[in-house]
Amino acid sequence: MPNERDGRLDARENENTVCPVPRSQYDHVLLGHGSGGKLSADLIQNVFLPHLDTGPVTELEDSATIPCDPRDHQLVMTTDSFVVRPLFFPGGDIGRLAVHGTVNDLAVCGAQPLSLSAAFILEEGTPISDLERIAASMRAACDEAGVQIVTGDTKVVDRGKGDQVFITTTGIGLRPAGLALSIRNARAGDTILASGTLGDHGVAIMSLREGIQFETTVESDTAPLNGLTRTMLRVCPRIRCMRDPTRGGLASTLNELATASRAGVKIDEASIPVRDEVRAACDLLGLDPLYVANEGKLIAVAPAEDAQRLLQAMREHPLGRDSAIIGQVVDEHPGMVTQRSLIGGERIVSMLAGEQLPRIC
């Protein structure tokens, strides 16, 4: 591993120099970038701060101070870790995911995000240029969502002890005090809506990983949903709950809903929006789109009388163009999700056991 040794030698030499180490000196992450010393500072100054140069993060204090006025609001907090291979994929990258994932967790709780933190675990040898791309992408994602990264951290692990870049983001947001969205709130008769096509993210990642190509590229749907949720809550403040069906897909989210609300859920396969490419990929790999991850979609449960108005408002939003009513909450089979198939049969949609594995033939 001559390069790494060279890198460490360079670092020692450079400790005696006066000027900041030029960024181009290191093409890859070195263990020293996690030392807390000069290289760590360089990494933050040269790679992250140029992109995240807003607000309290530039002050480099141990904590960020966030000006906010919580009157009539509740503080909402969430955290999520992101590991994805490959780091860059059609429609996004790990940086965009890390911002959107946490923004969306706040958004579906009815909160508008205030600030995020970002913690990076970097594997020795990761190209610095990749980090720069990720940082730039996180900045763009923050701007899109109207949120700032106000504090952060980096650590470096030995080569082979990580998978290039892991990111953990934590977010806080403010939610109007009167708003009580909860997955326990669904009532029989409520309508279930989805904000667009399902399974795009999971299939985008999987097709890239497995080298499957289609006539058109399936792009990840990663997107910040706080604009859409703001619109939805304005039109329909009585929304019972919203969820973003990420890992485990729609099936897992609906099962959680049915269990928490002690109600049954009925969905209609014909009304669930799934792209043709996604359906084809799922058929090919032996996967079920109901279980495939999404990163820019949400499920909403609303009283039936509000459903059409809500659907209309969702469809008028750029991130909700393909919204659809996909099912109902029912009295029967509490805790259970059923689906009417395309040809009219009925089946139970169960929780996923383990991970979906591609089948043989």
Binding site: E210, F214, E215, T216, A270, D276, E277, R279, A280, D283, G286, D288, E332, H333, M336, T338, S341, L342, I343, G344, G345, E346, R347, I348, V349, S350, A353, G354, L357, P358, R359, I360, C361
Partner: protein, 370 residues
Amino acid sequence: MKYQDEYRDPDAARRLADAIARLTTRPWTIMELCGGQTHTILRYGVDQLLPPHVELVHGPGCPVCVTPLELIDASIEIAGRADVIFCSYGDMLRVPGSRDDLLNVKAAGGDVRIVYSPLDCLKIAEENPDRTVVFFAVGFETTAPANAMAVWQASRRQIENFAVVVSHVTVPPAMTAILDSAENRVEGFLAAGHVCTVMGYEEYEPLAARRKVPIVVTGFEPLDLLEGIYRCLCMLEAGRHGVENQYSRVVRREGNTAARQLIHEVFEVADRRWRGLGLIPCSGYRLRHQYQQFDALQRFKLAERHVAEPSDCISGQILQGVKRPSDCPSFGKACTPQHPLGATMVSSEGACAAYFHYGRQTDSEALHAE
């Protein structure tokens, strides 16, 4: 992009279901042979569109399910070796051997990889000349050409650090075994469309004639299945037997001759043990003598052994269509996809796992109490 919608059309499905209802005058039992067909039936509720006296029983056509325990145990042993990269189709990884599964071997540090084609293994072998790349060559006739191609190419390209664990089974001997069983209830078969894509259906014709049984080569979409069932019932009601081809958009009578030649070049017919069914004579393939150097069991000197299956598992009867998953007292209790007791619960295409996944373990009256 045009897709499969015409094979999932609700109006056409209803018309076929009505035709089936008008056609049938007495109870019939039909077996769909392929796990993929079982999966479609349960996923779309095809069986729910049929009149109650038409019963579908689920056949042994899930390659993962019928791979015998001893070969899984041998694979697990090989996969745990530091000098081996073990490659497999994805759904084989979760299948438990007598003590462990390949996912656990991977978690414990074994180099176990999912591949989509055995030819990928040759690339891996060339990139890792100091290790042996072993492929778990399981499957029916469907996967046999690709697996044969990998061995043939390895031989031609002299890739010596490649080997296969062969667990290849074939459909017609299993059909004969089912029909020969004293408990047999099967009156007609839906043959597996993809198996016949490779093999054609000539070999089913003497079977249909000898056993006076209707066989319809059938596809995998809901309407394929309904049409296959309809055509099988037409023959049954008319007292006819023979082979018909519902899946004519893909299957030719002679199959894929190039693929068949390749299978014949690399493999020879052999007795095979099936998980749940036991030994069936001449029911699978083994490597021909000139390709034995690629036999992983020989290379790693793993002796032939027999591992007993749990006695409280009725998967043998389920694979023969004698019993249904819900007839088993362990179903959904002691036996689940996380802790399968036997063959039919291990793969998503096994009948028990499909019943479990699509909720047939619960009283279906609760589902339809509307």
